[in-house]
């Protein structure tokens, strides 16, 4: 069940100049949030930010009634969300969208790039709880942009690439050695920049492995009413907010 709820800012964890984790605390019970779900956050006290901002849920604590978001400040909305005061009221609509599907896999590969890593803490936890062997492959520009690897390590192996070679293998995620030689994964999950996801989906497709990708588009409502956030699929335009954000890549026109 989706809901509109007021939270308060509990605090921030600053990852670097532009990247931060915002944690909110509320008084009501938090509905079940699945890996890949997102929230529409109203930027408080900011009349110049008219629309809500769709942000993937990083994690939630149902006991403590907290919810956290990994946010990269890229525009006025995400900049302002990084400058709130502790205790400030924040209104969110959540949980929105579909989620990654966890089935009867044995061994999965998660490929995340940039702020696309957000859904993968909760997905990793879900996979570990089902004893599914998980490898996280995280791509970043430089070592300064590599975050949350400690959290991922709790749920599986962590492999890294950086474009400048300052951490992990040098190059793009698709250059990483997991894609060469034996590829014995039976599912790939990916989230990040479109070119990265397309390249990952192409490799997975060529190897005959099922692949799910979480897309990001500009949204207004987030609940399937405005029809602004469409992505073309083999079955026509689909709503990233309500029919996604997670799509099986075989259904996309990639």
């Amino acid at each position: 069940m989706k809901k509109v709820q007021d939270f308060k800012v509990l605090g921030y964890r600053r990852l670097n100049k532009d990247n931060y984790i915002l944690t909110l605390i509320g008084e009501e019970d938090i509905p079940r949030i699945w890996p890949g779900n997102f929230a529409e956050i109203k930027v408080p006290d900011s009349p110049d930010v008219f629309l809500r901002r769709p942000i993937s849920v990083l994690d939630a604590d149902y006991e403590k009634k907290t919810i956290s978001f990994y946010i990269k400040a890229v525009g006025k909305g995400t900049l302002k969300l990084g400058r709130l005061s502790v205790g400030q009221k924040v209104n969110i609509v959540y949980p929105l969208g579909n989620h990654f599907v966890v089935g009867q896999q044995q061994k999965v590969l998660i490929v995340g790039g940039g702020s696309g890593i957000a859904p993968f803490i909760s997905l990793g936890r879900e996979l570990k709880s089902r004893n599914i062997d998980t490898t996280f492959l995280i791509g970043a520009r430089t070592k300064e942009d590599v975050f949350l690897t400690g959290e991922f390590a709790r749920y599986g192996r962590v492999e890294l690439t950086t474009e400048d070679g300052s951490m992990g293998e040098k190059g793009l995620v698709t250059d990483h050695k997991v894609f060469s030689g034996t590829f014995d994964f039976d599912k790939v999950y990916t989230c990040g920049p479109d070119p990265m996801m397309k390249a990952v989906a192409k490799i997975a497709g060529a190897k005959g492995v099922d692949c799910e990708a979480s897309l990001e588009n500009m949204m207004a409502c987030g609940i399937g009413a405005c029809l602004c956030c469409v992505s073309p699929t083999k079955e026509g335009n689909k709503l990233v907010c309500a029919e996604g954000p997670v799509f099986n890549t075989k259904d996309l026109l990639w």
Binding site: M1, I223, G224, C226
Partner: protein, 303 residues
């Protein structure tokens, strides 16, 4: 006890608060947030004769106090609405208004005929003002002869309440309003979105795939209010006010300017529960101002 009921050309709504076409889906999208049975009515997403994929992404741009959209009437066609969607939503205890669109008069007629045959539908909204479809829509609404022609054509095949949704992208909206009134419209709703544009300075490209789109939100409210006031004074049929209504005060302003009922549009994207808050706020306003019947507010602006 405040009497919130309003009468639009013989059709009674339980209150003046309805939701605008294209901003509230088919109502179902909001069932987690809103008791739909409390609404005066729902104007459902625009329908066309055939399935439409709509325009390419990007279809939306945030602007100062508003947004541009260029959805382009994406919908699965009138038959899909009748066979699949309407059976699901007809149980909602509120008035369902189909919003119909076409690129030629014959399409409008065919869709209106089908709507006329739906049990339980008492009214339709004839959209002659969509700015995002090349071949039609707004083309009808910006010229008086074509607005009259399509209204007459639909009037001939539709027995229920006919509401014509007007475009603000005209020199004199009262001319169009008087024209459709003469052609048999029972009410007019205004305004649809204003034709606008957004440019990305970095890429030097338009933000929308269609270059231009329709502007909505509080940015357009003063212009919409002015047009409602002008049309209210020009025609005898009821006016449904639309344009940047974000709260009960905005809704009351539209009623004072001459709206018998109002449609909430873009605000549904910001707060999916806004329609409930507007109903409550209107009731509070009436209590505070000793107004026993909401109809007393219509056109009651003192000049």
């Amino acid at each position: 006890m405040v009497d919130l009921k309003v009468d639009i050309g013989g059709l009674e709504l339980k209150n003046p608060v309805t939701t605008a076409s294209g901003t509230f889906g088919f109502g179902e999208e909001f069932t987690d947030f809103v008791d739909l049975g409390l609404l005066g009515g729902i104007f459902v997403k625009g329908l066309t004769l055939k399935h439409r994929e709509g325009n390419h992404y990007p279809r939306m741009a945030e602007t100062a106090s508003g947004m541009l959209n260029a959805v382009g009437l994406q919908n699965k066609g009138i038959d899909y609405f009748i066979d699949t969607i309407y059976p699901r939503i007809k149980t909602f205890d509120t008035e369902i208004f189909p919003n119909i669109n076409g690129s030629v008069v014959e399409d409008y007629i065919k869709v209106a005929e089908k709507v006329n045959d739906i049990d339980g539908i008492n009214a339709l909204e004839l959209n002659i003002s969509c700015p995002n479809v090349k071949e039609g829509g707004m083309a009808f609404g910006v010229s008086c002869p074509s607005a009259v022609a399509v209204t007459e054509a639909v009037r001939n095949v539709f027995d229920g309440l006919l509401i014509v949704k007007l475009s603000p992208n005209v020199t004199d909206i009262t001319e169009i309003a008087k024209g459709v009134e003469g052609a048999g419209a029972d009410a007019v709703s205004l305004v649809n979105t204003f034709l606008g544009m957004a440019v990305d300075a970095q890429s030097r490209k338009p933000v929308l795939s269609t270059i231009t789109g329709g502007l909505s939100g509080p940015a357009i409210k003063p212009i919409a209010l002015r047009m409602v006031w002008q049309v209210y004074n020009a025609v005898k049929i009821p006016v449904l006010g639309i344009g940047g209504i974000m709260n009960a005060t905005d809704a009351i302003e539209f009623m004072l300017a001459g709206s018998t009922a109002i449609q909430i549009g873009t605000a549904n994207f910001i707060d999916p529960q806004v329609s409930m808050k507007v109903i409550d706020g209107i009731e509070d306003y009436c209590h505070e101002n000793n107004i026993s019947a909401i109809g007393d507010l219509v056109g009651a602006m003192e000049v």
